[in-house]
Subunit: 212 residues, 2 copies
């Protein structure tokens, strides 16, 4: 994927920020804890946030089997899955040159619902292991009813692009002496102290580390 | 907006998490630094991250006048603007009862491009003042060419809904004794120290405070 897989997935605006390398796309998908799935319902665009995960060259998302989004996605309609990380406010001397630092991936395609319960369970275990290594084996095992009530969708990461901005503001040369602070206010997704469930017995104290 | 404005904007999945109160919707739009705009291009859904802001009962987004997204949006097609904040991983005793804490808003409608330069400038000033109060007046003033090169879109916040999950995991009663850590790993958008632009003269040291 050194080049866009299709004219549709080519980055249009600021094409120099467009990246089509698989490792960059995969790293952003792994770093973003959640994504936004866009699909068409009754002719109108609908964008819904959901958790996603990547295993190999495939993207996954899931939820309750009764979900309108998932049923629509499983029906074979086109989707656009976009995962974005906001990395900072870029403050220039002019309003016009203000910007944002970010990493973003768009994946286009059609999704497939996993049918085989074993394949489903493997994908769900992969999700947990990706975000919280070692946790799946410690959990109360998943049962038949739960697998049935869970719809797992997958889509190959093929028609995809990344877009990234980093670094300081780019001001017009004549603005550099303007007496206002310029630079970047870096933003990050951080974690505060884990909050144990109020109904957890004393003695179970192994809070998992936050995902990277 | 105590009730959904339309059947389309009614929260389907987990309807108890659906909220239609204007103050809740506005607070989430103000807290989220960026949103995802979904629209339809050549019959396919396209979801693009962008900065947004709210002034009164209207939502705004903007960018380069050459942007495909903005030109499509300005053309009167339906959009879905979704702004989401990921607040925490919710860790249960079973994989099935794992969840996420989040705040999310979806706004449906069609956008209008601001034409009048004064109205445009007022909207852009409102954006800066909303995120960085007092900064607009310190900047090198916006000029005619910049206003012309900037497309500002607005949409009334009418057909909108919020969806929120907070609090601890909800496990099956028989799982409560399962010996695994359960609780919430809280996530927040945080800021690290401002990074001054390398081309900023010494002495300009008033880095603006991070937005709330």
């Amino acid at each position: 994927m050194e080049k866009p897989a299709s004219a549709f997935s080519r980055v249009r605006r600021r094409p120099k920020r467009g990246i089509y390398q698989r490792e960059v796309i995969e790293a952003i998908l792994d770093a973003a804890p959640f994504c936004h799935v866009g699909h068409i319902v009754a002719g109108r665009p609908v964008v819904i946030p959901t958790l996603h995960w990547r295993l190999g060259r495939n993207l996954y998302w899931h939820g309750n089997a009764a979900s309108r989004m998932l049923k629509t996605n499983a029906g074979g309609g086109e989707v656009c899955v976009t995962a974005s990380l906001f990395d900072g406010w870029v403050m220039a001397r002019s309003g016009f040159n203000h910007s944002a630092n970010y990493r973003s991936v768009m994946c286009f395609g059609t999704a497939r619902a996993l049918i085989d319960p074993a394949e489903k369970e493997q994908a769900l275990a992969g999700f947990m292991e990706k975000r919280f290594p070692g946790r799946w084996g410690k959990l109360r095992p998943v049962n038949h009813q739960e697998l049935k009530a869970t719809l797992v969708l997958t889509m190959p990461i093929e028609e995809a692009s990344a877009k990234v901005r980093t670094g300081p503001p780019h001001d017009d040369p004549e603005d550099l002496v303007w007496p206002v602070w310029a630079g970047v206010l870096p933003v990050l997704l951080g974690y505060t102290a884990p909050v144990p469930a109020p109904d957890m017995p004393l003695g179970v104290t192994d809070a998992p580390p936050a995902p990277p």
